[in-house]
């Protein structure tokens, strides 16, 4: 094991992000502005530069760059996931800024934690060995626990953070335990080596044992039922500016982890894990969609909707081919972009001392601001999967992947619960458009950057709905 300086080039985006984060850490000590303009813009700049480096140094389609004895992989999947992780992280920073400032929560730590979490995600989606997977995962989740607990004075936040931490630690333990089994059977931590040797190991039962633990851990990180218990509480308890972050970028990273582990390491066992994932998918679809109907808190409702979307995501996985993974990747991108926007809208309505967390707080929004109401309606219709929006084509692709793999029954379960699902999305539209606004409703803030970014996000859902071909081609190319 020798050190090769060329490896550092492969890691350049991560190193730059790390350097920038440390720089921001120091600079922030000297920033006294309450708006933290310097920290804010520097963080966005760091994310932008990292994204640029990810794209500029990206390997050719079908090629992969390896570093540090194959512990770190830079390939097409890593590139596309990193681009969208950086994008959604930046989105959460922009959406959350005013919200946090009004609550006097805009402290430098937020930026650092988000940047470190982003670094963890980048590491996770590039992992080439079980160790890197675990390192990336822990960097991400430890930052997330702290972010959720950010509002120390709120008992709801603290409760959510404790719950998240305890269950998250349990899940990490499961993953680690599963990894140790796999290692015990294959005597390797390297994902590619595991992939090669897994077919002829002495103890296949050991592998199956480890596989179950890994799947449980992955399902926990994705938020798929029955490992979803933490999700509604954390989404509701965390400050909305943090929910938007936790609800978007880490889902992309979890997808990356699931793909690296399931396909990269355990691909030959796909006959075993596809059925497990199919069962997880059914449970997620049922639990997510049915429980979302009963919610009056919109953050909780979106949390349950997340669970159901993870069910849809797994539809792409059960296919077990690159076309299926591409569909799942497309789905998760569509979901994160849309969810980020929906949480962003909650923050548009929120004010100091008023959280706008209830669905009824959206009442009559169409009268107060037709533009914002239209944007939220687009997000809801997209999540519900109505054409011609982004979400519809994502659903189309995963359904196709599932049917292609012979899981017609699963596709039919999925669409039945998609029908259940449109009810609660339509309810938000109904509240905005058909109900009268309260007299007491406050005027909406005139936050220009937020308005612009949110509008771009909304229009992206329409544009990508009509012309989603290039993005899907990119997804397909990544898996070559």
């Amino acid at each position: 094991m020798t050190f090769n300086p060329v490896d550092l080039l492969v890691l350049m985006p991560e190193l730059v992000l790390l350097g920038a984060t440390l720089l921001i850490l120091m600079l922030d000590l000297f920033v006294e502005q309450s708006s933290r303009a310097l920290t804010h813009w520097l963080s966005l700049l760091a994310l932008a530069i990292t994204a640029l480096l990810v794209c500029v140094g990206a390997p050719e389609s079908g090629e992969r760059m390896l570093a540090f004895n194959d512990m770190f992989i830079r390939d097409g999947v890593a590139t596309i996931l990193k681009v969208f992780i950086l994008l959604t992280s930046a989105l959460s920073l922009v959406y959350g800024r005013n919200y946090l400032r009004e609550r006097k929560l805009l402290i430098g730590e937020i930026y650092l934690l988000i940047l470190f979490a982003t670094l963890g995600m980048m590491l996770l989606v590039s992992a080439g060995s079980l160790i890197t997977v675990y390192l990336g995962l822990e960097l991400l989740t430890l930052c997330s626990y702290a972010l959720v607990a950010l509002n120390r004075d709120s008992s709801v936040s603290s409760e959510a953070a404790i719950k998240y931490f305890v269950l998250g630690a349990l899940a990490s333990g499961l993953i680690l335990y599963g990894m140790s089994m796999i290692y015990g059977a294959t005597v390797s931590l390297d994902l590619a080596t595991i992939h090669a040797s897994i077919g002829n190991v002495a103890h296949p039962n050991l592998i199956a044992f480890g596989l179950v633990f890994l799947i449980a851990g992955i399902a926990f990180k994705l938020g798929a039922a029955p490992f979803h218990m933490w999700l509604p509480d954390v989404y509701q308890g965390a400050p909305t500016a943090i929910t938007v972050f936790i609800g978007s970028a880490p889902k992309l990273a979890a997808f990356g982890m699931a793909w690296r582990l399931l396909d990269g390491a355990l691909g030959p066992l796909s006959g075993q894990w596809t059925l497990m994932l199919a069962i997880l998918a059914v449970l997620s679809l049922v639990v997510g969609n049915v429980l979302a109907i009963a919610q009056t808190n919109i953050k909780r409702m979106l949390a349950y909707s997340t669970i159901s979307h993870m069910g849809f995501l797994l539809l792409g996985f059960v296919n077990g081919t690159s076309a299926g993974y591409a569909a799942a990747l497309f789905y998760i991108i569509s979901y994160t972009v849309t969810a980020a926007m929906a949480f962003g809208m909650i923050m548009v309505l929120a004010r100091a001392g008023f959280e706008a967390e209830e669905i009824d707080d959206f009442r009559g929004l169409a009268q107060r601001s037709p533009w914002y109401a239209g944007m939220m309606a687009i997000a809801m219709f997209s999540l519900a999967g109505i054409p011609p929006l982004f979400g519809f084509f994502a659903k189309l692709l995963v359904l196709k992947a599932a049917i292609d793999a012979g899981y017609l029954w699963l596709a039919i379960v999925a669409i039945v619960f998609a029908i259940v699902g449109i009810f609660y999305y339509l309810r938000v539209v109904k509240v905005m458009y058909f109900d009268k606004a309260d007299e007491s409703a406050l005027a909406l803030p005139d936050d220009k950057p937020l308005r612009w970014v949110l509008s771009l996000n909304g229009l992206a859902l329409v544009v990508l709905g009509v012309a989603w071909g290039p993005l899907f081609d990119w997804c397909l190319r990544s898996f070559i």
Binding site: P370, I386, P387, P388, I403, I422, L426, V429, Y433, F434
Partner: protein, 507 residues
């Protein structure tokens, strides 16, 4: 001369662009919104006339899709932005353009809140409907088919009556349930053929079991859209709560999408299963004709009565289509099959005019009295003679009086049914009695008799704007009734094509 222009794209996107323009300029200026909408709607209608004039009527020309536009859309799925029109599409697109103009004129006064949003929704809906009638790619069709739920959802939900939220949610979810099963069918066909074009689907070489499954997937989607008994229950609610303009579009055009879907999907893609299970649809249609007719008889809400009458009349469309299938299957009787199918199509167009006109009439009354209950009316003819004239004319068309458009289609379908089975025709002909009963009884209670109360006594007759709307509908009703030849000629060859394909499938 028109063939060089992408007419179908113009027809789809002109109103859609219009919707954005209207939203942009009409925010604080209701009249600007109204005039701009009218401008776009009239322009679209003019283009649809150009489409009719540019249509190649010769036997060779009409045997294929015309005005074809083909651009790659999603390469990974081989889905195309593919448009094309045959005689049936041209007729339905013309109906859409015509009705949309009248709906916008009709909504001029009654819609006073959020005018620009209403007008934009109407234009968007028009564009999407034309898209449905012009798409020859299944994915594109599905996108238009589903997307039109959004504007209709908003139209009923914002401008509707007291129970509008219930009605619009029911409408949306009901329709969504149907179409999503079709989506699974389309994905299956896509996996089978590798593309999304309807022509490829028709040549997929499906086995009997596959066809049966797909047939029922399509049947759910289109039966809900038509709607057929027993999945019709969303329609009365949606109609009663919708604003007049929404009701007119819903009855005159959106319901036709169901009938059109049977022709474009069920018949060409699953011809054997369609013949095999034609009896299911025929039975459902006959039940609708009789049972829904009786249901209409007992309504005390005018709009609900017309809504049920719509279901009964649309049953003739499905009856005509599937009688034709039964005729081909059992007797090889192409001529009668053609007659049934032709009757179904004429009934679609005619019902577009008649139901649109009836709902407009009820809108006229509702704007003045703010009630739809039949018992609040009586003797309207005394105070509104012109209105009464129009109303009676449309009522006669609804009954199917010779000389009006309602007669032509129903008569053709009943004739074709006779050749298939005497009892089919016997039951179908009940409509002549029941339809007359509920329609004429409605006329008697609302229009004739003594002036019922002071409110009716104070009614004033229709204004010029309403005159234009009802007059235009009346012209359409009489024109098809007296001289249906241009319409039947337009659709004749296209129907021959569809019937001919059935024969091929059988062989």
């Amino acid at each position: 001369m028109f063939l060089n222009l992408p007419l179908l794209s113009t027809l789809i996107w002109l109103p859609m662009i219009g919707a954005i323009v209207v939203l942009a300029i009409g925010r604080n200026n209701d009249n600007a919104a109204r005039w701009a909408t009218l401008l776009f709607a009239v322009a679209t209608f003019v283009v649809s006339i150009a489409l009719y004039l540019g249509y190649d009527h010769t036997a060779t020309g009409a045997a294929t899709m015309q005005f074809i536009e083909l651009h790659p859309w999603i390469n990974a799925l081989r889905a195309n932005y593919a448009l094309g029109a045959d005689g049936i599409s041209v007729a339905l697109i013309g109906l859409t353009g015509f009705t949309s103009v009248l709906v916008i004129v009709g909504s001029w006064g009654p819609i006073q809140k959020k005018v620009s949003l209403y007008m934009a929704a109407m234009l968007a809906l028009e564009g999407l409907l034309i898209g449905v009638f012009a798409a020859t790619d299944a994915l594109l069709f599905y996108v238009f088919f589903e997307a039109m739920l959004i504007p209709m959802f908003i139209i009923i939900g914002i401008w509707g009556g007291a129970r509008r939220v219930y009605a619009t949610l029911k409408f949306f979810i009901y329709t969504f349930v149907g179409s999503i099963f079709m989506l699974v069918g389309l994905i299956y066909l896509h996996l089978k053929t590798g593309e999304f074009s309807l022509a490829a689907f028709a040549n997929a070489g499906l086995g009997p079991t596959e066809q049966a499954w797909l047939f029922f997937a399509f049947l759910i989607a289109f039966a809900i859209k038509v709607p057929m008994w027993p999945v019709h229950t969303w329609l009365p609610d949606a109609h009663v709560e919708a604003p007049t303009g929404g009701s007119v579009i819903l009855a005159a055009i959106m319901l036709k999408v169901g009938g059109y879907g049977f022709l474009r999907f069920s018949l060409p893609i699953t011809p054997d299963a369609s013949q095999e299970y034609a009896w299911v649809v025929i039975a459902m249609s006959l039940i609708a004709v009789v049972y829904i007719g009786y249901v209409a008889l007992v309504q005390d809400d005018m709009k609900k009565l017309i809504a049920y009458s719509s279901i009964a009349h649309m049953a003739f469309v499905t009856l005509g289509i599937f009688i034709a299938l039964a005729l081909v299957r059992d007797q090889n009787n192409l001529q009668a099959a053609q007659l049934g199918m032709q009757g179904a199509m004429v009934q679609m167009i005619s019902h577009g005019f008649v139901s649109g006109a009836m709902f407009s009439c009820i809108g006229v009354l509702y704007d003045r009295m703010h009630t739809r209950a039949i018992r609040d009316y009586g003797g309207v003819a005394n105070t509104m003679p012109w209105f009464a004239t129009f109303f009676v004319l449309f009522a006669m068309a609804n009954v199917g009086l010779p000389g009006t458009s309602g007669f032509v289609g129903e008569f053709m379908v009943i004739l074709a049914s006779f050749q298939a089975n005497f009892w089919f025709a016997f039951v179908a002909a009940f409509t002549l009695i029941i339809g007359a009963a509920y329609t004429l009884w409605l006329v008697k209670r609302v229009i004739f008799g003594d002036v019922a109360n002071e409110k009716v006594a104070k009614l004033h007759d229709i204004n010029p704007r309403e005159w234009i709307v009802l007059g235009a509908f009346a012209v359409g009703v009489l024109l098809i009734g007296l001289y249906p030849k241009p319409l039947t000629d337009l659709m004749d060859t296209s129907i021959q094509q569809i019937v001919g394909r059935l024969l091929l499938a059988k062989a």
